[in-house]
Amino acid sequence: MNELMRQLLFLPEQASTFAVKVDKLHYFVVTVTMVASVLTGLIATWFFFRFRERRPNASTPIVSASHRFELAVISVPLIFFFLWVWVGFKDYIWYVTPPKNTTDIYVTGKKWMWHFAYPDGPNSNASVTVPANRPVRLLMTSRDVIHSFYVPDFRIKQDVIPGRYTETWFEATKPGRYRIYCAEFCGTWHSQMIGEVVVLPGPEFDAWMVKQKQGLAGRVDSSGSGEEFKGDLATYGRRLAGAYGCLKCHSLDGAPHIGPTWVDLYRRKTLLASGETIIADEGYLTESMMDPYVKVVKGYQQVMPSFRGKLAAPEAAALVEFIKSLRGDNLENVAPKEPVYGPVERR
């Protein structure tokens, strides 16, 4: 029965505990809606034929309602409506009250991608890995405009708002991959702000997490720089910056030195020696490590060595993440302090 109704109504899979709960009310409401509107249509149509005009301009009786009829007309819909409100609100309260001991994940929405971070290390874009049959709580904020985190298979949706944290939670019941959409219009590629939730069975998730915590550099990769590291990318980047000697020329206190300071460098509008103005995004930062003389900042000498072939890809990423983490006062911090997140950027 459940499966039949779900397919008839084109509802997606029921992959969370909330989905199973909410769909029952869904079937009930939709069935009553269908029956009521079709019945109204049929009764009206039946009246058209039963009471059709038999001679033009006929007289008609005066029909009035008894109090009993009026009472029924008011109370029958009211009973149905309030029943739905009651059940719906009860389910909703259950849905906005996460249980204790949730696995917390921080979510950042920005045009047009989802960023996920676990409190103890790994980060990812677009794809988030969660355990099955364990409650997962998402703490969400936005870097720019309002987005809305929507997973149809879980029947959950929550707006993601700049300058605030909102939360939602779910308990996935079936391992698999589920689509994430952005449901609040956010600009040109709103429809491509998609991602997926990867649900792994509990033990597999734990194993995955252990592997993630070993850190990017700890994994066996082509770079061969097999130094063991535990922690997040930015912390790793700070260590690398020391080890590679970056900090001999780039300051971390905002003062210009032999090279530009790294504080607030990320996304800064930068005037180049060529007269061109660029924004110091990830692409630019990486390019400057590899080809430092292509875009030299105005007022600085061409003294930086190239790190092409010296930095492994994950190391360059870690340095970029470290630079991104260095934010000064000209970014307005309107978000609450606790989570590990970037503040809202001033446009």
Binding site: A44, F47, I161
Partner: protein
């Protein structure tokens, strides 16, 4: 009714009526006649409807394939913005009050004009200026924020938004002036003997609408100006980067825009009350209940706005309260539906074009209303919010109910306005296209919403493809229906058979004068001694039925 389509040699138009009483462009541009002002609204809002329809078709054709079809992402975003703004601010809100409110309300009350004819003329010009500014602003500036202008997106989009926001601000004044005029007219210009309980239900509906127009519209004006000012001068009202609150915008926006739904739908409900009584030749079943439920909807409609924000992060308690208030709107609507169906009972029902629209209206309003109850059920809305389910739901109300009422009004009062009949056969054909096409367009969208397709998606997942194609196919039927109507109505303006003053022997005061009416409406001020739906012949014994 059949004999009406046969040329009746005896009938002829009155020699002098409001259309030919004065001649020349100036006599139209500076007219103070409520009937001519109604025709000006008719022309302007028809242009808006056509434009909005073209934008809608552009959106539908874009969705023929999951990827890019006929336009780029930014063009698509502009198209649905144009569609929403034009349909809501330029068509839905002004159409029925502007055309039929202006034309019929004074006639139905037995008045010579509205209370403030100059303000009435001003409202048309304010509308025209606001509409022109909004359209110019959207086309030249590439507005892409949707008709909802949610902050902070509307503050940060590279498109130019200030002109369209000021356009909406100006359009608001037109709406307020119209509403104010109608309130005063109903209070002061009723014919002798027309007590409050003898006012036609269309007038009650317009009266309830006018109250919302006057009280709620200033809020949207204020909100759009705040957004424009924040965009231009960088004040931090809604942008969190400047200490503003984006959710505050949503509260302010929906504080107007939810009651605005009733600005759109209440007049349509009033039309249906008239049309049901007219085609069934019946007293309205539960007159008082219909009249008071209009006021009830207008009142509780003010306190239901938060149901647009169940997943916005507002408090859970708010969500529960807004859900309960929303249900009250549902109950008032249900009362009306019972009463319309009850009016058909024991009637003498003429199978004419308005009947098809009444039938469509009843089905769409119940289905649209009940799905409204469904999305006002908080836990269910979490899944449906901002998906095509919501799109389908509000199109059921705004197209299904409002436009059915609008078309029923055209077909009910066309002979009164122009003195000629449209072709009944084509009327039936077109109305069938409209009702079927509408279902085919929007029922697939309910299913798309269930399946999880978010709204305002330029590209969508391939699994949504079939339903999208079905919806587009339905929309072409719908468009075709509108084109047929436009053609036979324009044809009927000059070539339709002369209708006679009261072709269907109806009882409202508007039928108690010539068609088209003279400039001053009534040669003798009518006196009223019975309710407007007394279809019992004098002298015959009247049968009373209580159910």
């Amino acid at each position: 009714m059949a004999q009406l389509n046969v040329v009746n040699e005896e009938l002829s138009l009155p020699k002098v009526h409001y259309i030919n009483a004065d001649r020349g462009l100036k006599s139209w541009l500076f007219t103070l006649d409520h009937k001519r002002i109604a025709l000006m609204y008719f022309v302007l809002t028809t242009v808006a409807l056509l434009l909005g329809g073209i934008f809608a078709m552009a959106v539908r054709f874009e969705h023929l394939t999951p990827g890019p079809t006929i336009m780029g992402a930014n063009t698509y975003n502009r198209m649905f913005t144009l569609h929403g703004v034009v349909m809501i601010f330029l068509f839905m809100i002004p159409a029925i009050p502007g055309i039929f409110g202006n034309f019929c309300l004074p006639l139905m009350l037995g008045a010579k004009d509205v209370a403030f004819p100059r303000l009435n003329l001003l409202s048309v010009y304010v509308y025209a200026v606001g509409a022109a500014l909004a359209l110019y602003g959207m086309v030249s500036g590439g507005a892409d924020a949707g008709w909802t202008f949610y902050a902070p997106y509307s503050l940060s989009t590279p498109a130019t938004l200030a002109p369209v926001l000021f356009g909406v601000f100006i359009l608001g004044f037109s709406s307020i002036l119209t509403g104010l005029n109608f309130i005063v007219t109903v209070h002061t210009l009723r014919a002798p003997g027309m007590t409050w309980m003898r006012i036609p239900l269309f007038v009650w509906a317009i009266y309830a609408t006018a109250i919302i127009q006057v009280l709620a519209t200033p809020v949207i004006g204020l909100t759009s100006v705040l957004v424009a000012v924040e965009r231009i001068f960088g004040f931090g009202f809604f942008d969190p980067a400047h200490g503003g609150d984006p959710v505050l915008f949503q509260h302010m926006f929906w504080f107007y825009s939810h009651p605005a739904v009733y600005i759109m739908v209440l007049p349509s409900m009033g039309v249906i009350s008239e049309a049901v009584a007219a085609v069934a030749r019946k007293n309205v079943f539960g007159y008082k209940m219909i009249a008071y439920s209009s006021l009830g909807i207008a009142f509780v409609g003010f306190f239901a706005w938060g149901h647009h924000m169940f997943v916005s992060g507002q408090s859970a308690l708010d969500n529960g309260a807004f859900a309960i208030i929303s249900m009250l709107v549902g109950v008032f609507t249900a009362i009306k539906v019972f009463n319309w169906v009850g009016t058909l009972y024991r009637g003498s029902i003429a199978i004419r074009t308005p009947l098809v629209y009444i039938c469509g209206f009843l089905f769409f309003l119940v289905f649209g209303g009940m799905t409204g109850i469904a999305v006002a059920t908080v836990s269910l809305d979490v899944h449906w919010h901002d998906t095509y389910f919501v799109v389908a739901h509000f199109h059921f109300i705004m197209v299904g109910a409002v436009i059915m009422g609008y078309l029923a009004a055209i077909h009910l009062w066309f002979p009164k306005m122009f003195g000629r009949m449209f072709h009944e056969g084509w009327g039936m054909v077109a109305s069938s296209f409209i009702v079927l096409g509408f279902n085919a367009t929007f029922i697939p969208q309910f299913l798309l919403g269930n399946a999880g397709q978010p709204r305002r998606y330029y590209m969508y997942d391939e699994r949504f493809w079939v339903l999208n194609v079905a919806s587009t196919a339905g929309s072409t039927l719908l468009a075709f229906g509108f084109i047929i109507i436009l053609i036979y109505l324009i044809y009927a303006l000059k070539n339709g058979n002369v209708a006679g003053d009261n072709p269907w022997d109806l009882k409202g005061l508007e039928w108690n004068t010539s068609s088209p009416p003279p400039k001053h409406n009534f040669d003798v001020t009518p006196t009223v001694d019975e309710d407007p739906y007394t279809y019992q012949k004098k002298g015959e014994e009247v049968e009373h039925v209580v159910i």
